[in-house]
């Protein structure tokens, strides 16, 4: 999977990296069990500080997208939202997003169509999720 980070963006690099990995998992470009480059390698190949990558990996681990093994490095290990924490977070973010869509004049049907389109692009095999 190819990760692209925009240095001119206002979004911090570690957040961009975290988002890119999550999108990759969602689209199925990063399969469960697949390894990620080590922190040092990722930092070398992106040309960013190792601390930045370390921070992104830390967040991905705490959010349950990857597991970090001392021998094999980071591996994709997406976990289901067992306790409904994500549901709450999604509801909050959707509230803001839908409110903004309403203000900007986006119809519900258009919004739903957009959601369908984005969902269709996700290829992660749900059965493999732990």
């Amino acid at each position: 999977m190819i990760i692209r980070l925009d240095m001119a963006s206002e979004v911090p690099i570690y957040v961009q990296l975290r988002n890119a990995v999550v999108v990759g998992i969602g689209k199925g470009e990063l399969a469960p069990g697949e390894g990620l480059p080590t922190v040092r390698q990722m930092a070398e190949d992106l040309g960013v500080n190792t601390m930045t990558v370390n921070k992104a990996y830390g967040i991905l681990k705490s959010e349950g997208f990857i597991e970090i093994d001392r021998r094999h490095g980071a591996r994709i290990n997406p976990q289901k939202d067992k306790f409904g924490v994500f549901r709450e977070k999604a509801e909050e973010e959707l509230l803001l997003l839908i409110a903004e869509a309403t203000v900007r004049g986006l119809e519900k049907s258009e919004f739903m169509e957009l959601c369908e389109k984005v969902y269709a692009g996700m290829g992660a095999p749900k059965a493999e999720l732990v």
């Binding site: 999977m1 190819i2 990760i3 240095m7 390698q41 070398e44 190949d45 040309g47």
Partner: protein, 481 residues
């Protein structure tokens, strides 16, 4: 100055010209996808304006080369100037090389800029997302498998260790050979650094296909790390052989052996061979990378999405977004990314080399235009030669002394020997080893034997002083007897 020597100096400069002409060939050749560092493909190459720019570059470079060629001949080969001494030759060669490289660089920069503007005007430029960083996670994970193993660096390491062991046990009396061995170590350390930078350097994302990205990156990393290891081994090996031959030469001369032509030839052949092999390895690596990349891109029916010409528009690579120190050159071989810390370092290394060479030439001026000075004290005499050459002879150390009306026949073991001066360690034919501090224009030469059996040959142009010193030394030896 001998005609052959002058011709060899001139040939060195012409060789530099030849190298720059090779560079001109590589940046304008038809087979490459780059023209004057800019990506020009297919029908674009036939465009009238493009052809004009290339013609303009070639014309300017050839005119400059012709002028410099004539300048070399005038300085070194015209009989009137052939008397030019070593110091002047060094200063002239340094100025000549600097002027040549500077002019060549300026001309190429001008035409690379012109070609870049032409591409922009014609709308051939593809945009470059200067702010976007990319990484292929699959390729990045397999990075360790790409370079040639660093274990092969053990070969030059053992050569370096072996050379020091040899010096310690076999040639410790010739401390000057240590310089050559230390140069070996420095060169090896530089190659280690290059290997490290190339093996761990940033990977490139060429396409969306990870397999193709892996193949293209692997070809490049493998070829260049292999090249560095070969170069390090060759350089260390040949430097060691040269040191061995030099040691053999010095011991042979010190032992009074007259025919050392074979050894001198061996030294020259060895040095020439090391340069030739060095270049061959470099060209083979560069050729392999270019060929493999071309074949891979063709097989995958892939064309490079971004041309990255903006980073090459000055004739060198400048990309602040790329952390790689060494990148593939668009003409041939590898180039430094001038946006990294090595950019200013490269500039200062070039300036430093220029200052060093000019400084060396100036420091050597006394060798060609200075005089030998002698100070006679109450119980010793001191000779002050050029540069750092200085020798003291206490009168009571002398056991034998000869006054010679002609310069004693001598061979240099280690020191300075010019048309005018002989300074350093010399072998005096018919006498033995010792030190020399001789002005060859002098009328008289004195050879004095010290208590340790070594000879000391000296002379200054002031004949009266020479005769009085001889009388003093003769009286001393007779008193001893």
């Amino acid at each position: 100055m001998d005609f052959l020597l002058a011709f060899s100096y001139a040939s060195t400069l012409w060789f530099v010209q030849l190298c720059l002409l090779f560079d001109l060939y590589f940046i304008t050749r038809k087979k490459s996808e780059y023209l004057i560092f800019m990506t020009i493909r297919g029908e674009q190459r036939e465009d009238v304006d493009v052809v004009q720019v290339v013609k303009g570059l070639k014309k300017e470079v050839w005119v400059m080369m012709a002028v410099m060629f004539v300048a070399t001949g005038v300085f070194f080969l015209l009989p009137l100037l052939r008397k030019g001494e070593l110091s002047l030759s060094i200063i002239y060669m340094t100025l000549w090389c600097t002027a040549l490289i500077w002019c060549d660089f300026k001309i190429i920069k001008k035409y690379a800029n012109r070609m870049y503007d032409l591409k922009l005007n014609k709308g051939w430029q593809t945009p470059v997302k200067k702010t976007v960083l990319e990484v292929d996670t699959v390729v990045s994970r397999m990075k360790k498998t790409m370079p040639v193993s660093e274990i092969w660096l053990a070969v030059p390491v053992w050569i370096c260790i072996g050379s020091f062991v040899w010096w310690f046990y076999c040639a410790a009396e010739y401390k000057v050979l240590l310089i050559s061995l230390l140069f070996n170590v420095l060169a090896f350390l530089f190659f280690c650094y290059m290997y490290h930078r190339m093996a761990h350097g940033k990977l490139k994302v060429y396409s969306e296909d990870s397999d193709l990205n892996y193949a293209l990156n692997r070809v490049s990393k493998r070829a260049w790390t292999g090249c560095v290891i070969w170069e390090a081994s060759l350089l260390c090996g040949f430097q060691f052989i040269t040191t061995l031959l030099l040691h053999l030469y010095m011991t042979s001369v010190a032992a009074g052996k007259e025919n050392v032509t074979g050894l001198m030839t061996g030294l020259i052949v060895c040095s020439a061979l090391s340069i030739i092999l060095f270049l061959i390895v470099f060209f083979v690596a560069a050729g392999k990378v270019k060929q493999a990349k071309k074949e891979l891109a063709a097989a995958a029916d892939f064309s490079y999405a971004e041309d990255e010409d903006v980073y090459w528009k000055n004739g060198y690579y400048y990309n602040p977004g790329d952390t790689n120190t060494f990148v593939e050159n668009r003409s041939l071989g590898i180039s430094t990314n001038m946006a990294t810390k090595w950019g200013p370092a490269t500039k200062w290394i070039l300036i430093g080399t220029f200052i060093l060479c000019i400084g060396l030439g100036i420091a050597m001026l006394p060798i060609d235009f200075g005089t030998m000075k002698m100070q006679v004290g109450v119980d010793s005499l001191e000779l002050q030669g050029c540069l750092y050459y200085k020798e003291t002879l206490p009168f009571d150390e002398v056991t034998e002394v000869y006054l010679l009306p002609e310069r004693p026949e001598s061979s240099r073991v280690w020191g300075t020997g010019t048309d005018r001066f002989a300074m350093g360690d010399f072998y005096f034919k018919g006498y033995g080893n010792g030190k020399a501090m001789m002005d060859r224009d002098a009328e008289y030469f004195i050879l004095a034997k010290r208590q340790n059996g070594k000879w000391f040959g000296f002379s200054v142009t002031d004949s009266e002083t020479m005769l009085s010193v001889y009388d003093r030394l003769k009286a001393q030896t007779e008193k001893e007897q």
